[in-house]
């Protein structure tokens, strides 16, 4: 009884009470803002600068969804989540969308009450070591100590890898990626293992980024993607097609700078994407120019990638698997028609 008293008392001061039982789309439209679960700080994917402005590939995805649904990429409320909180936050409705370098696995997809809407970054697990060790391959890591973030797929993959190669290791697990890299910096462990993309970001957090290197081996598949609650297909479709739209835009050469000119394009695919013909937007429950807004305000996938993790960013990660299908990568947007 005391419990509700407090809850009612505090919520009546209007910190955040809102009652609604409609679908996520209706709720988002009513609130006028998309609540997006992001990490507490992974460079290139979602991190806040000292002014509290969020940026990164995952953040751009949140912005794309906001652009598609609400017509403005800035109508996003970022909710930084630890690895522990992320699934509950989504399950309980605290966030409408989880865009937080989350690996798509069978267990997560089936037993946690969430659905992965796609993959926005194909990653794999790698190792970051100090150059002083003089190691060039993960095969030489027998007996080494690893810093890992607790409760990630990384932790499980490491066990599998060392079991399959018959080597031994010690693990030091930390709660956040910040602690993990701190442990490595202090020499608590010989190597950090994590998604390769994150290792490039962690490398930049070293006093001297050139003193460490990422080993060539990739020991697992880590398809990272946005997730939504199970059982809300309309919202699921929006999130999934937001991802496809930004990939499709790249494939068709539509960028934030030429999108206005492209409105006059006679290419039927471009016309369907930008909503000059077809009913894609309407079918999703959105405006006809939903994809136009995404590209206009956020840019296509290539623009986001290059800006935050790719060639124009300090991380400088090459596209690799994340190239479009017709350029030898795995990114394959389903056709909008």
């Amino acid at each position: 009884m005391k419990f509700t008293k407090i809850a009612l008392l505090l919520s009546s001061t209007a910190l955040l009470p809102n009652l609604a039982s409609a679908g996520t789309l209706e709720q988002v439209l009513e609130k006028g803002i998309v609540s997006c679960g992001v990490s507490t700080g992974i460079p290139g994917f979602s991190s806040a600068d000292s002014k509290g402005v969020w940026e990164g590939l995952d953040v751009d995805f949140c912005r794309s969804v906001a652009a598609a649904v609400l017509g403005s990429a800035d109508k996003v409320k970022y909710i930084p989540l630890t690895a522990k909180e992320r699934f509950t936050a989504l399950q309980s409705g605290e966030v409408d969308l989880l865009s937080r370098t989350t690996t798509w696995t069978a267990t997560r997809d089936t037993s946690l009450g969430l659905n992965f809407a796609g993959v926005n970054y194909y990653d794999g697990q790698g190792f970051l070591v100090n150059k002083k060790l003089g190691i060039t391959s993960a095969k030489e890591l027998n007996g080494a100590t690893f810093c890992i973030q607790a409760g990630t797929t990384t932790e499980l993959n490491l066990t599998d890898y060392f079991k399959s190669t018959g080597m031994e290791y010690k693990a030091v697990t930390y709660d956040t990626s910040g602690q993990t890299i701190d442990g490595f910096k202090k020499g608590r462990c010989d190597a950090v293992t994590s998604d390769a993309s994150q290792l490039y970001g962690l490398r930049l957090k070293m006093d001297d980024p050139n003193s460490v290197m990422v080993l060539p081996e990739i020991i697992s598949k880590e398809p990272l993607g946005p997730a939504v609650r199970q059982g809300d297909d309309a919202w699921f479709n929006i999130v999934r097609w937001t991802l496809f739209a930004s990939l499709e835009a790249e494939e068709l050469g539509v960028t934030s700078s030429n999108v206005d000119a492209m409105l006059k394009s006679k290419n039927p695919s471009v016309m369907r994407l930008l909503g000059t013909t077809g009913t894609a937007g309407e079918n999703l429950g959105l405006k006809a120019n939903w994809a136009y807004t995404i590209v206009k305000e956020v840019g296509n996938y290539a623009e986001s990638f290059d800006k935050h993790v790719g060639k124009d960013s300090p991380l400088g990660i090459s596209r690799g698997f994340n190239k479009l299908w017709n350029q030898g990568g795995l990114m394959y947007p389903m056709p909008i028609r």
Binding site: M1, G113, L156
Partner: protein, 394 residues
Amino acid sequence: MKDSQRAPSSHVLLNSSEKRSVIYQLCALILVFLCAYYFTTNMFENIAKRGITTGFSFLNETAGFGISQSLIAYSDSSSNYLDVFVVGLLNTLMVSVIGIIIASILGLLLGIGRLSSNFLISKMSLVYIETFRNIPILLQILFWYNVVLAALPSPRNSLDYLGSVFLNNRGLQLPEPIFESGSLAILIAFLLACVAVIFLSKWAVKRHNLSGEEFPLVKVSLAILILSPLLVYFLSGQPISAEYPILKGFNFQGGLNVLPEFMALVFALSIYAATYIAEAVRAGIQSIAKGQTEAAESLGLKKSIVLRKVILPQALRVIIPPVINQYLNLLKNSSLATAIGYPEIVTLFSGTTLNQVGQAVEIILMTMAVYLTFSILISLLLNWVNAKMEIKGR
């Protein structure tokens, strides 16, 4: 309050205090019940709607991650989550027990130092107490771990003591005792010595009650406890040897490895708890009226006897209850290990396991149950101690 003593002046429902109290209680009960009902139905509804797995069957699933310190056999590829739970539980207990021992010694010294007639010692104890009890324990843990231990050298440049003990940023490497076949005899000898000491102390008390003669119990018991296993050790041909840590590859191999996380946690917890224990000791000793000391001295007792036979027995009655409470606090504070990644119950179970399995309700409840059990056990202990130490009327 004393309503019950008032004669019921009227039979109107609300004017009779008994009936009113029944109504109040019913209201409270219904309210609590409704809340509980509201929360649980919502929870089950949410869980069902989202297709979240429930139940405790996850405990049988293979965990599949490595743990840096385990008191039981743990295999990262075959042990299940129940093993993880037990490993965490034991690690919590280990860090707490060691922390409690160090904190007690440190606290006792500080408490006595605080009352010392030596101005400098008394003030230094005061400065220590006031410094460390006013800094949050989490901050102390992080400080020890991130600042002090970070300053330690890498394994290859370890601080070396006698070639067998090494200190570096991977922790403290100690020689590990290896028990060979004859070592059972030593254990038996030690147990026998313990039994002998118990009988000896009973006999000494009895003799003291009868004749008033003192027996040097402490010295004799110590001699028995140390000498008899030592004698058997040499007689049975020195069956205990030591395995020394050796620098091999990345790290030291062999020997006992004390994790830096463990050291930081034990340091911080015991330094923090010692301040409270010291205050309890000081308050306890000060609570004994000065007349007691004076009376004992006027009987011609020596200063050491006065402290041992007059002051301490009375002071302990005041000291022990708050100290036991501090032990419980230390145990609860060990949960902060999650901030530095020491593998105890909160880190392993509410951290890693929760992340892997995602069944928040079950896992958090299990973790809470662990601490509740400990706190119930400790309060039972406290009640027993209180009953035992109650001043008995003659």
